[in-house]
Amino acid sequence: MTDEIESIMSQAARLESLGTVARRQGEEVAADAYFRDALALALEAANQATYGGSHPTRLDTLRAAVRFALDCGEVTEARRLMDGAFSAEASIKFQDEWAQLHDATAWPDTWLIAAVRRDPPDVQALEALANRYWKPLFGRCQLLTLNHQKASDLAQEAWCRVLRRRHALKPGGNFPAYLTRIATNLWRDGYRSALRAGPMADHRLESLDAAHPNEDGESVALVDRIPDLKALSPEDQTLLAMDIDEALEHLTPQLREVLVARFITGESCAEIGQRYGRTEQSISGWVRQALREMKLHLEAASRGAAVKA
């Protein structure tokens, strides 16, 4: 690498670092500008390498340029640069670093989201992003709706909402958490609407704020015939899934949502409290209440099954 090319590339690397920091801090406009400047420098370096540098130097600068292009969501430009590199040296296509750049399913969320934010959004990037998070999203939606079709509709609607506001997506943010939050908000709007229960729901929430006994409600004793979840027969798994769904159905929607947020999404009581405008202690009380109700229902179902057997 000539001194001049090296100097240009170290400038580009500095800009990339600044862009990464800005992105992490949610300053997407600044991040985008840094990455674009880095891309311009890398292209200049690649151009110089073409006419006065070595072949490996040219490929190195092109690879950096591809990375910067993907950082700012310029997928078409990234593909053009990759095609240029592959025609200059076909064998690199199979090298790990290039293969990862070429395969959208291997891209980190930041690149996929940067590509989806653009107009028009990159279809391959969207495909990869949707596939990456579809199943976890569906799983949460299933636990909220307790219905396969409704879960599928809710998950799709969440994606539609995200896409309608895709320009506001933050590539440095926590995308799966955002997607889950959109789905949860949609579901909450749905049940509020269905119940038309503004004041009633408030009343129910207030009642949940009452002090709860500090008991260990977090474990449920299952009958002897179910020693281990992994050892269950397919039929027993189906029955257990039905029992869990039924127990969840008996919870108020708020309690169900809080349980999913706490144990499936992994949010802390403080984080859930922020969304609800409640204290950490209140949410902790809701969680205990929900667990206690689940426990009662599951034990009753378990006893019923034992009697039938």
């Binding site: 949707a130 579809w134 799983g139 599928s152 994606w159 506001r165 020693p227």
Partner: protein
């Protein structure tokens, strides 16, 4: 042998099972098609609604110029689009708050035309130029109001943050009974 399985483990097991039974992810092209707002799919319909909104503005221009002495502000020209009818009316904004990029809005339909409906898909239309600004769901509450709580683009959040409920609203509304623009 008796075993105790924590409920959180049961929930995770249930979620994993649901994930395993998930239908295939929708294709990107389908998601993009589904995400298109109704005014992009049916621009001629949007244009027709906007023209009608303009007529409502003329009809109740006087009322909009002089807000009543109450906590609520100017009437907002509104077109209600249902499967079988379209109604020209107005709504009264009762509460408006823009904070942290979210809009929280409560409004009431004009009593003469009000026919309670569980929810509306609300399209906000700017005055001039007449263009769609956003769409959101308004949910009817027991106290006879519609409530909207939605995320705003940075541009709208910045522009609407200083708005007070007594200000003349920089938008008109199309209330559709479904999200496809009626």
């Amino acid at each position: 042998m008796s075993s105790k399985i924590p409920i959180e483990e049961l929930l995770r097991w249930r979620a994993a099972r649901a994930e395993a039974e998930a239908p295939p992810a929708p294709r990107a092209a389908r998601l993009l098609e589904m995400a298109r707002p109704w005014w992009e799919i049916r621009p001629e319909r949007f244009q027709a609604f906007v023209e009608r909104l303009g007529r409502i503005q003329v009809a109740c221009g006087h009322a909009m110029g002089e807000p009543r002495q109450s906590r609520s502000g100017h009437p907002v020209p509104t077109l209600i689009v249902r499967a079988v009818e379209e109604l020209e009316t107005s709504v009264r904004v009762l509460y408006l708050n823009v904070r942290d990029g979210r809009l929280r809005l409560r409004f009431q339909l004009d009593a003469a035309t009000a026919q309670a409906q569980e929810r509306f898909d609300v399209t906000f239309v700017s005055d001039k130029p007449e263009r769609p600004l956003l769409s959101a769901t308004a949910i009817f509450s027991l106290d006879g109001e519609y409530r909207i709580d939605t995320e705003l683009s940075e541009e709208l959040a910045h522009g609407w943050e200083p708005l007070k409920v007594t200000d003349r609203m920089p938008f008109r509304l199309i209330l559709c009974s479904d999200k496809d623009g009626g």
